[in-house]
């Protein structure tokens, strides 16, 4: 079996901007591999190189054993690609879009129906609606169907859930899990850190460089810095006070709590309490927690910037 994706020392610049710098990683068979990073990190550039739409300046990459430069025609037949921007025909109906993409790949919707069935049944009620009139979640489901219609070996999904509500995001990821079980290797990018937890392995990308490649569980396990969840009745003054505390290493809002790390960990706790005491925060509470994937990424991003 050929390795679905191998990337070696890939570089790409646009003028002075280094979009990708020395990128290497491998996606294994049946693996759901997440590329996690903010807008402008270089994710889409990497997708375009791997889908043979853009040439790298340096380095090699293969998809299912095929070279992205020499074998570009063969690659295009075996990959499914969902670009970041909605790229279906807005004025064609759901059904017309599906038929269109099937025809391009010399197949029919019926031929590989088994693969798209679960997703298709959700959009079937809207099959006569123009794609441009679908809600965000529905558009993404249709785009996934179109990317799967020719039964690809490798699936490239560039930010499929950006701007999609939490319910649709959840459904979308359940579909990805099922596709993975069918042996399709998936490279998916996302700015949502909670989605990183659903991948087999993730690579964190920032400013064109990969910061870390690992399983999400291992990334979390590696972070052993003591962290506390803190809250008070009025959160904004609390953030400001905690950030002004000299021994604070980081303090970020996380849902209903603030996540706090201290320069010397537990050794700074007494000092912190003495510092906060006169500030008189009402309903103050503080308890130790295990850092989550988002905490870990923020930590990694920060160390990269320094």
């Amino acid at each position: 079996m050929k390795t679905p994706i191998v990337v070696q020392d890939v570089h790409k610049s646009f003028g002075k901007v280094k979009a990708l710098h020395d990128i290497s990683f491998t996606v294994n068979e049946g693996e759901l591999f997440g590329l996690i990073g903010p807008d402008g990190a270089g994710k889409s550039t990497l997708f375009r190189i791997l889908t043979t739409l853009l040439l790298a300046d340096k380095g090699q990459a293969t998809v299912n054993g095929l070279d992205v430069v020499k074998d570009y025609k063969a690659i295009r037949k075996i990959v499914g690609y969902m670009p970041g921007r909605f790229s279906l025909y807005q004025d064609l109906t759901v059904q017309e879009n599906l038929d269109f993409f099937a025809t391009i790949f010399n197949t029919t919707v019926a031929a590989n129906y088994e693969l798209i069935e679960e997703i298709y049944v959700q959009i079937a009620p809207f099959k006569d609606r123009p794609a441009g009139k679908l809600s965000g979640g529905m558009k993404q489901k249709l785009a996934l169907c179109c990317a799967l219609v020719h039964k690809p070996v490798v699936l490239f999904l560039d930010e499929p859930t950006t701007g999609v509500d939490p319910v649709s995001r959840k459904e979308f990821w359940e579909m990805l899990q099922r596709l993975r079980k069918k042996g399709i290797a998936i490279l998916v990018s996302t700015p949502y850190m909670d989605e990183a937890m659903l991948c087999d392995r993730v690579a964190l990308i920032q400013n064109g460089s990969l910061l870390e490649i690992d399983t999400p569980q291992h990334i979390i396990a590696q972070n052993n810095k003591p962290m506390w969840a803190v809250r008070a009745k009025r959160m904004y003054p609390l953030i400001q006070d905690l950030r002004s505390f000299p021994e604070t290493e980081s303090c970020y809002a996380f849902g209903e709590y603030l996540h706090l790390t201290l320069k010397h960990g537990e050794a700074d706790l007494d000092k912190l309490h003495a510092y906060l005491q006169p500030k008189g925060h009402e309903e103050f509470s503080m308890h130790p927690i295990q850092a989550g994937i988002e905490d870990c990424f923020m930590e990694l991003m920060k160390s990269e910037k320094v």
């Binding site: 807008d39 809600s135 509500d165 939490p166 209903e256 923020m298």
Partner: protein, 240 residues
């Protein structure tokens, strides 16, 4: 004066009811989170509140102005920012500020003064003559937000302001929101990040055109016996 008051506000497109008799109030200086699934009717509601779309029935006042009769006054008195479109990428930082100042009818002198203040506050004096397209995303966001409130509106509408933004920049953006709210600006914000829902004073959740829940994040979690806002959202939106 309440910044936003609606009563049975409704918008139909043909036989489809996009926004179905929503009634709610937003308080002064409040950060109000406006949540809902894709297609639940958020955008339609927001467009009506911004004076961009005429309601089919019901009432609404924004910044004290009537959405039917004073749509233009509403537009002059609110700020608006979305992730998708806010700044002109091919204009310089300075030019964007000048453009928005002009749109909001500020005098040349005011624009000059505001430009100086704003660049100083954002520490972007050195970037004044750079094209917006060349700025890092976090800076763009700060600039977009500052430009949206350049004319000192009493209320600002933020439509998914943090979509696709990294976790650190996202939080920095919320610092700006807190700061504005602290100055008394009312903030009406939509987001798909449920952790951000927790930062709001109160939130409403729309399902199929109706407001199905409206309360503080704490109360909503208690009401739905949920661990997090994510759970609340899933419970509500799934119950179709």
């Amino acid at each position: 004066m309440q910044p936003i008051v609606t009563k049975e506000l409704t918008k139909k497109f043909g036989t489809f009811i996009a926004t179905n008799a929503i009634t709610f109030e937003v308080k002064e200086g409040e950060i109000f989170g406006f949540l809902g699934a894709n297609g639940a009717g958020k955008t339609t509601a927001m467009r009506m509140l911004c004076g961009l779309l005429r309601p089919s029935s019901g009432e609404a006042k924004v910044a004290g102005f009537d959405v039917y009769k004073q749509a233009d006054r509403i537009k002059q008195n609110i700020g608006y920012m979305s992730q998708r479109f806010s700044l002109y990428e091919d204009l310089k930082v300075k030019e964007n500020i000048r453009f928005y100042g002009g749109i909001y009818g500020l005098s040349n002198n005011t624009i000059k003064e505001k430009t100086k203040q704003l660049l100083q506050k954002l520490q972007m004096e050195a970037e004044a003559d750079q094209l917006v397209s060349a700025l890092p995303l976090g800076w763009k966001q700060k600039l977009a937000f500052s430009v949206a409130i350049l004319h000192d509106p009493s209320i600002v509408f933020l439509d998914e302001p943090t979509g696709g933004v990294d976790p650190v920049t996202r939080r920095q953006f919320w610092d700006l929101i807190y700061e504005a709210a602290g100055r008394g600006v009312t903030v009406f914000v939509t987001t798909h990040y449920m952790d951000e829902a927790e930062y709001c004073d109160r939130i409403s959740i729309m399902v199929d055109g109706r407001i199905q829940a409206l309360d503080t994040p704490r109360q909503l979690k208690a009401q739905f016996q949920a661990e997090s806002m994510d759970d609340v959202f899933l419970k509500l939106a799934r119950g179709k």
